[in-house]
């Protein structure tokens, strides 16, 4: 494992823990007990938090913070620090999974549109978004952008805003522009009753999120070294739970997980090491993530719920905070199919990720009708083939519930690599 050098380490004095491969067998890899949340009792499990369409954690936070506002954001890149610094609760929404029947939104968005756009609108049209005071979108794709304005028309009392994230990182003007965009957001949030987010408040928030991201990176590194100690589905729910909790609470939850996981021992098994690519926005059903592992994959990196950790190093605290945040989007953020940086093609980023994680293969897990991911697949595929890295393409919808065909495909893929 690489040396831990983040603020998180300073905060906790954590020494990278590593279980050597082939550690003693203590527990079966697929019977690892889930990490409890350690929140005020009764502690909900991360899985309960992320699939709760009544948003109990949000309601609870609001009742504990009279007058406090909750701002939901659509994936992927949201400046949560600014929302937090205004004294508001930023909440990452990733659709409704299979928990909501679409009754109204199909008529508004029709065919060939991904599910998350529809379930997000459906959540609104069925009153599920009532605990929220605002909704934030950004320039990730055409469907999400149009959804922003459809939401604006259908929910005139809600604050609905759209952030234009720059697509031309080559010009120095883009960081300045993004700073002006962040200033506009801050002013809008303050106007709707947020606390004044001065530089000190912003720095406090940045520090908290820096730590949160650092712990997440540690968990990912820990998993990379010891994929037999933490299941992909477990890490997934742990990380995604952060979408619904105040950042401090989530960081605490992650620390507990690290301690818990580092203390585990289990035997590794015959599996291939895979990077999962393409699930940065609409989320695959949890059962599909479980299936990957059951079929013989160790997930050593993924872009699930990328919105939680899109800045991949600490945001500097010693400069103007909004400039630092803007520059972090331009220069420190994780590539994905909805972030465009022609200085460095994303297919190079994928190859690097595969090498760094020592992965054997890439599995594309792409939401149906996700045009950005589908486009990227072409160039990703070309580059992987040049590099001789095996890959498999799977398509899902958040509301899918039977995966037999996908299971067979993954099993066949794994077998072809294991017994090659």
């Amino acid at each position: 494992m690489e040396p831990v050098k983040d603020t998180a380490e300073k905060a906790r004095g954590y020494e990278g823990q590593q279980t050597g491969s082939g550690g003693q067998l203590e527990i079966e890899p697929y019977n690892l007990s889930p990490v409890p949340c350690h929140l005020s009792p009764p502690s909900p499990l991360p899985e309960e938090i992320i699939y709760d369409l009544n948003f109990a954690t949000v309601r609870e936070w609001k009742s504990g913070h009279p007058g406090g506002k909750a701002i939901a954001y659509f994936p992927v890149y949201a400046p949560v620090e600014i929302i937090h610094a205004c004294g508001m609760l930023p909440v990452g929404l990733n659709g409704a999974g299979d928990r909501l029947d679409i009754q109204h939104a199909d008529a508004r968005f029709g065919s060939f549109i991904c599910s998350i756009v529809k379930t997000t609108l459906e959540l609104g049209l069925t009153g599920h978004l009532d605990p929220f005071d605002g909704f934030l979108f950004s320039s990730i794709c055409d469907s999400a952008r149009n959804l922003c304005f459809v939401m604006k028309r259908n929910f005139p009392d809600m604050y609905v805003d759209f952030l234009h994230l720059p697509h031309n990182p080559e010009t120095t003007a883009s960081a300045e522009f993004l700073k002006s965009e962040y200033l506009r957001l801050r002013d809008n949030l303050e106007r709707m009753g947020g606390r004044r987010a001065d530089d000190d408040a912003l720095r406090r928030s940045i520090r908290l999120y820096n730590e949160n991201r650092a712990v997440m990176r540690q968990l990912y590194d820990l998993r990379q070294e010891n994929p037999h100690l933490i299941r992909a589905s477990e890490l997934y729910t742990l990380v995604r739970a952060g979408n619904f909790l105040m950042v401090e609470e989530h960081t605490e939850m992650l620390w507990n997980a690290i301690e818990d996981v580092a203390g585990r021992t289990a035997k590794s098994r015959d599996s291939i090491r895979v990077v999962i690519e393409g699930s940065f926005c609409e989320q695959p059903p949890l059962d599909l993530i479980r299936l990957m592992e059951e079929a013989g994959c160790y997930v050593v990196d993924d872009d699930f719920g990328l919105g939680r950790s899109w800045i991949n190093e600490d945001v500097p605290l010693d400069e103007d905070p909004l400039t630092a945040l803007a520059e972090s989007y331009i220069d420190r953020s994780v590539y994905s199919s909805v972030r465009h940086d022609f200085r460095k093609p994303r297919f190079k980023g994928l190859i690097e990720k595969v090498r760094q994680r020592r992965a054997d293969a890439v599995i594309f897990l792409i939401a149906k009708f996700c045009e950005p991911a589908e486009f990227d697949y072409v160039l990703f595929k070309r580059e992987l083939e040049r590099e001789g890295i095996p890959h498999l393409l799977l398509e899902f919808e958040e509301k899918s519930f039977t995966f037999e065909r996908l299971r067979t495909e993954v099993e066949t893929f794994v077998e072809s690599l294991l017994f090659d």
Binding site: D142, N154, A173, E176, E374, Y377
Partner: protein
């Protein structure tokens, strides 16, 4: 059953349009073998063609290449070739046709197309453009520059938005100077902006002639004839001459009371791009009902001028930036599009709205169900929602479309006759007889 009407008007402008477009393709062919003039591949939406004039460079428009293939029923082969490369059935078929045609060496005229000197992604609203240009750059091995244009998330662009775009336009100029060794001719650029101003004014006057009853042209199907020169030649004298000629021809038709059909039975607004692979078939479905599109959103992709915007030569860079940010339909937000359509319905006195959902284009189509809800329920406008594609012939279901269009006009006919009984004064205003 109605007799099918005359489906299109063919005048001098059609001949001239053909000449201009062929000359453009010829020059691209020359550039493919000599490297001169330099070329810039860019998108139609909010295209900054004036800047190219400052270099004497030629635009390449992949969208025009793609639509030419579709209109000649030649789009399926390149689409299938692209799908073999890994493109998904859901991916924009314009991109697939363009990339597939490039890989297979297919061009719209049979001439050659050059590798662009620069792939310039003039991003205005369409995120698919970003992908398209990344792919052009990667597959054709062309240098790439993106002009990031802030989307219209407020009613008007901010000063920061304009400054941001102007700075990038200037960086593009520097980059293109470095790539070609040609010094940017500012005076020539300014002159191009002046020409654009004039061409836009003429184009806008033509569009306003469609407010007459009968409208002298179809602002959806015929407008497409005028759109090619608008995007390629706007900043040139040839462009201005073309639009002067077009306006004169249209004005003549207005003066003689000539419409698209012998009578103008219906006036509609059409939203969304046309199904190019079945352009004529689709048009005939409207001709059958003598229905004229008096306005369309698709004809404002490259620029929205009928509400007053003109390039201003006093601040040419700012003018180009404002055109890219605010004055084209693709960079305007969805609710601004609702307003645009509403304005057409009122000021161009339309009877109804046709929403053509195209599977390829989420920029246009994502949310058109909500648009229908707004126009039918909120405003009580008779609205038809139909689906096909702009490039992929596999998504055109002729019988189904015909049935739906027939049913719509039958009901609109009924609706109109009821309205006439109730409101004779409107009959006089619209001139319906």
């Amino acid at each position: 059953m109605q007799q099918a009407g005359k489906t299109e008007y063919r005048g001098g402008l059609h001949q001239r349009q053909k000449e201009l477009m062929l000359r453009w393709y010829d020059r691209l062919d020359v550039s493919a073998s000599t490297g001169r003039p330099p070329t810039v591949s860019m998108m139609i939406s909010g295209n900054p063609v004036e800047l190219l004039e400052g270099f004497g460079a030629l635009p390449i428009y992949p969208e025009i290449n793609a639509l030419q293939l579709a209109i000649r029923h030649e789009s399926l082969e390149p689409i299938l070739a692209a799908e073999e490369m890994g493109y998904a059935s859901e991916n924009c078929a314009y991109v697939k046709a363009d990339i597939g045609a490039w890989m297979k060496g297919i061009t719209p005229t049979g001439g050659r197309l050059p590798v662009p000197t620069l792939a310039l992604c003039n991003f205005v609203g369409c995120n698919t453009y970003l992908k398209w240009y990344e792919h052009i750059a990667a597959l054709m091995n062309a240098p790439l520059y993106t002009i990031d244009v802030p989307f219209m998330r407020e009613d008007r662009p901010s000063k920061d938005d304009v400054t941001y775009v102007v700075r990038q336009l200037m960086e593009f100029v520097k980059k293109f100077e470095a790539l070609t060794g040609i010094k940017f001719d500012y005076d020539r650029f300014k002159e191009a902006v002046r020409h654009s101003n004039r061409a836009e004014d003429l184009w806008s006057q033509i569009k306003h002639l469609a407010r007459k009853s009968p409208s002298p042209f179809d602002a959806y199907f015929d407008a497409i004839t005028l759109m090619g020169p608008l995007y390629v030649y706007r900043g040139t004298e040839d462009g201005v001459d073309f639009f002067e000629m077009a306006l004169a021809e249209m004005q003549e038709k207005v003066d003689s009371g000539e419409g698209v059909y012998d009578t103008e039975r219906f006036r509609v607004v059409i939203e969304g791009p046309p199904p190019y692979p079945f352009f004529r078939t689709f048009r005939d479905m409207f001709a059958k009902w003598k229905a004229t599109a008096v306005a369309s959103t698709y004809s404002t992709v490259g620029g929205l001028w009928e509400f007053g915007f003109r390039h201003d030569a006093r601040e040419p860079f700012e003018a180009v930036a404002l055109h890219m940010i605010e004055h084209n339909v693709t960079n305007r937000n969805y609710l601004q599009r609702y307003d645009q359509i509403e304005r057409y319905i009122e000021d161009w006195r339309a009877d109804g709205l046709i929403i053509h959902f195209v599977k390829s284009c989420r920029l246009f189509s994502a949310g058109q169900g909500d648009m229908r809800d707004y126009f039918t329920r909120k405003l009580g406008i008779p609205t038809l929602y139909i689906e096909s594609d702009l490039e992929d012939p596999r998504y055109f279901s002729e019988a189904q479309l015909r049935n739906r269009i027939d049913a719509y006009f039958e009901s609109l006919d009924h609706h109109k006759s009821q309205a006439v009984v109730g409101d004779r004064s409107r009959e006089q205003v619209t001139g319906d007889r």
